[in-house]
């Protein structure tokens, strides 16, 4: 079983739709949760960052973390064609030492928003 599971999609939605992207994980030590966005032929870039449980909102994007269920979500409101990309969840524990900063990624979900 993978430490982090993410539905690869692909997911296709009309412009203006609300998009929900999700990841589940098995390692209860994970404390820091991120969403990266990757456009075609580009490297991933950090989109959202959350520590522990709770919600975080940034414009049309909301990240949610439910540590009790080991489940994280990214919601995109009023989706736009420019949101078409691969979305990767990533997480890490609070372990120190040389492992500090090592992220575990999900498989990525391919999202297409069509006009």
């Amino acid at each position: 079983q993978k430490e982090v599971e993410q539905d690869p999609g692909p997911l296709s939605v009309p412009e203006g739709a609300i998009v929900s992207l999700n990841c589940t994980y098995s390692n209860s030590a994970f404390q820091y949760f991120m969403w990266y966005r990757q456009y075609s032929r580009k490297g991933p870039e950090l989109l959202m960052y959350t520590y522990s449980s709770g919600n975080k909102e940034d414009g049309r994007f909301t990240a949610q973390v439910d540590k009790s269920s080991k489940y994280i979500s990214l919601f995109i409101r009023d989706s736009q064609p420019s949101d078409s990309a691969t979305y990767l969840c990533a997480m890490r524990s609070n372990a120190g030492g040389t492992s500090y900063g090592k992220l575990t990624f999900g498989q990525g979900t391919i999202l297409t928003v069509h006009p």
């Binding site: 993410q6 580009k42 490297g43 991933p44 890490r92 900063g101 090592k102 992220l103 990624f105 990525g108």
Partner: protein, 113 residues
Amino acid sequence: DVKVTQSSRYLVKRTGEKVFLECVQDMDHENMFWYRQDPGLGLRLIYFSYDVKMKEKGDIPEGYSVSREKKERFSLILESASTNQTSMYLCASRKGGSTDTQYFGPGTRLTVL
């Protein structure tokens, strides 16, 4: 802006060749990472370096080695390329400390024939 560059966007090599992939970052970051990205598998960590001349194995180090002689440069070496190393290779850098932001390069699409 942080910039992470990779030496090639596309590379085609033959089985058994020695392959060098180079990554350079311009923000004086302590940590650097090499990942491979495959459909359905996401990003998997090959090696990372937390400082010059320091390296640590990631989740899939077999068949790879790395070199970090200067802070800004992190090289991935395939000693004897094999077809199952055909993949997208991504380099990333991160400032040491509490930040989690990793800055990625554009990737190198390697095909081993």
